[in-house]
């Protein structure tokens, strides 16, 4: 069951997208979400659509993974889209019943909203599929660095984030192992009524907590034994370097923004 959890999963590769600087990728992903809101007609959405497809193509990752990224959010998307469709008035009205209308504007807006969701999910999936979690943590640290002037604990937050990300797979393995051990003792996970399901979580959660605390303690001891000291002056093992290709992608995004501004209604 853990194997199906794909959200936020890194797929190793050597594509152009994989090799981009993670700081750049992170910032550009946020920027992209921003400029999606510039789109307001068919043409601009079409441009964004092909731009996203092209980025997906460049990553060398199968389309299936991106579509799977949409699946967990499908109900939220449908709900939002239906609200738009049935409560927007304007243009030709095809059908109405009390406050509910089916109008030309409603349908168009619904399609736009749907596109917006899919584009945002595709782009953020692209970020997590092509960036190792620890690089992402490094990128976040680099981006948060200016906040040090207001005494924000950047190093500590970054360390917490890296440790948490590092232990996600470990914790997932551990979960599977303990679930199997309890299944062998006759527990049915995910069966029976709500009360039975809640009860079956106890034999899973308690061992997980115990092992996490043990692990945390071991990790702290190991770090102390090796003289760990965070903060100022600590050098890095993974060094992020800005390459020519990063500058190029920034320019491409600039161009995209220009095109959107020019084509929007």
């Amino acid at each position: 069951m853990m194997n199906k959890l794909l959200l936020g999963r890194f797929i190793p590769g050597d594509s152009l997208i994989h090799r981009l600087d993670p700081r750049n990728k992170l910032l550009l992903s946020f920027y992209y979400i921003g400029i999606i809101f510039l789109a307001n007609n068919w043409l601009t959405y079409l441009v964004l659509f092909f731009f996203t497809l092209f980025a997906v193509y460049l990553s060398n990752i199968k389309m299936g993974f991106f579509i799977r990224g949409v699946r967990p959010l499908i109900w939220l998307i449908l709900f939002t889209v239906l609200l738009q469709v049935f409560f927007t008035r304007g243009g030709t009205t095809y059908w109405s019943w009390g406050p509910i209308v089916l109008s030309q504007f409603g349908i168009v807006n619904g399609i736009y909203i749907f596109m917006r969701f899919v584009l945002i999910i595709f782009m953020s999936t692209l970020l997590t599929l092509t960036t190792p979690p620890l690089s992402l943590a490094d990128a976040i640290e680099a981006i948060l660095k200016p906040l040090r002037v207001v005494h924000f604990p950047v190093y500590e937050v970054a360390l917490m984030l890296s440790i948490a990300l590092r232990f996600v797979p470990t914790l997932m393995d551990e979960t599977e192992k303990i679930m199997n051990a309890q299944r062998a003792r006759g527990v049915d996970f995910g069966e029976g009524n709500l009360f039975q399901q809640m009860r079956s979580v106890v034999p899973l959660l308690i061992p997980l907590f115990v092992s996490s605390f043990n692990r945390a303690e071991d990790l702290a001891t190991a770090m102390e034994a090796r003289g760990y000291q965070g903060g100022e002056g600590r050098s890095k093992y993974r060094i992020l370097t800005w390459q020519a290709r990063d500058t190029w992608t920034v320019l491409v995004f600039g161009l995209l923004t220009g095109v959107l501004v020019w084509l929007r209604a």
Binding site: L6, A184, R185, G186, I206
Partner: protein
């Protein structure tokens, strides 16, 4: 009811259908007879743990069939109604102490049997019985399992599986990380269960002495498939073959193999000290033998 276990052309792939898929087992054909004591040896990552998780349908084969008693497990088998199977085939995972969760030792041991429908009062009695069986004093019953030593926790976990009264007992490296005394106690207990209660035992181990002393069948796993099956006496004859796979043989056998190079003769390499002594005695000069007896 007989619980023979048969593997037919079994293959298993982890995370099949994703880019992370990795084949852990292939071409497995194997029968584990009722009341036998089967040892599974092999390098780390050779697929031993994956293999034994098919014995109680925790994993279903990606292709092929596993027959457990009368139940056939195929890739299409539904996940429901596997409980009777899980009760019959008890599984002690590697480092089983990590599965403890109840407030008291008694409750934790009773957890399994109660999941299989045993009355609370009966299960409590059973828990006390099992604690004695694994060699722990009764006053531990009301203690928290988290207050015990590592070796004691391990034995409580094993008691929790035995309390389900399985007919087949699977142990995945049950003595890993224990001191010699703890190891002997656990292996002695397994031996008793096998002899006195006629449990079918499947033991994964890295200790060739355990294989020599207790098992009547050995399965050698290599890179996801079975490289050799046989009685320990047969499998341990080929010392070079095993050592090439970094598996080794019992110390006694290794010693005998070295003696063989020095000119001693063995019809069959001995596995235990008693066998070695018996094979060696007629070959020694008379005085040496009588001197030893005088001591």
């Amino acid at each position: 009811m007989a619980v023979d276990i048969t593997f037919k052309d079994v293959a298993y792939t982890y995370q099949a259908g994703t880019p992370f898929e990795s084949q852990a087992l292939h071409d497995i054909n194997l029968t584990i007879a009722e009341h036998s004591f089967t040892a599974i040896i092999g390098h780390t990552g050779s697929g031993k743990s994956t293999l034994v998780q098919h014995l109680n349908a925790l994993l279903k084969p990606t292709s092929g069939t596993v027959t457990i008693g009368e139940r056939k497990i195929t890739p299409e088998t539904n996940n429901k109604h596997l409980k009777p199977l899980r009760q019959k085939v008890g599984m002690v995972f590697q480092f089983p102490e990590s599965q403890l969760f109840e407030e008291t030792v008694a409750k934790d041991i009773a957890f399994g049997p109660m999941n299989f429908g045993m009355e609370a009062t009966v299960a409590a009695k059973k828990a006390a019985e099992m604690l004695t069986l694994v060699g722990l004093p009764a006053e531990l019953l009301e203690r928290s399992p988290f207050d015990l030593s590592g070796g004691q926790m391990r034995r409580v976990a094993i008691a929790g599986v035995l309390a389900m009264a399985p007919e087949v007992l699977i142990l995945d490296e049950p003595t890993a990380g224990l001191d010699p005394a703890g190891r002997r106690e656990i292996m002695g207990m397994v031996e008793r269960l096998h002899h006195e209660q006629h449990l079918t035992v499947v033991l994964i181990t890295h200790r060739m002495e355990d294989v020599a002393n207790y098992a009547d069948h050995v399965v050698v796993m290599e890179q996801g498939t079975i490289a050799k099956v046989g009685r320990p006496q047969e499998v341990f004859q080929d010392v070079a073959w095993l050592q090439a796979r970094q598996l080794g043989v019992p110390e006694t056998t290794e010693f005998a193999a070295r003696l063989q190079q020095r000119g001693f003769k063995f019809d069959q390499l001995p596995l235990t000290e008693a066998e070695l002594a018996a094979a060696l005695a007629p070959q020694l000069p008379r005085e040496v033998v009588s001197q030893q007896h005088d001591e």
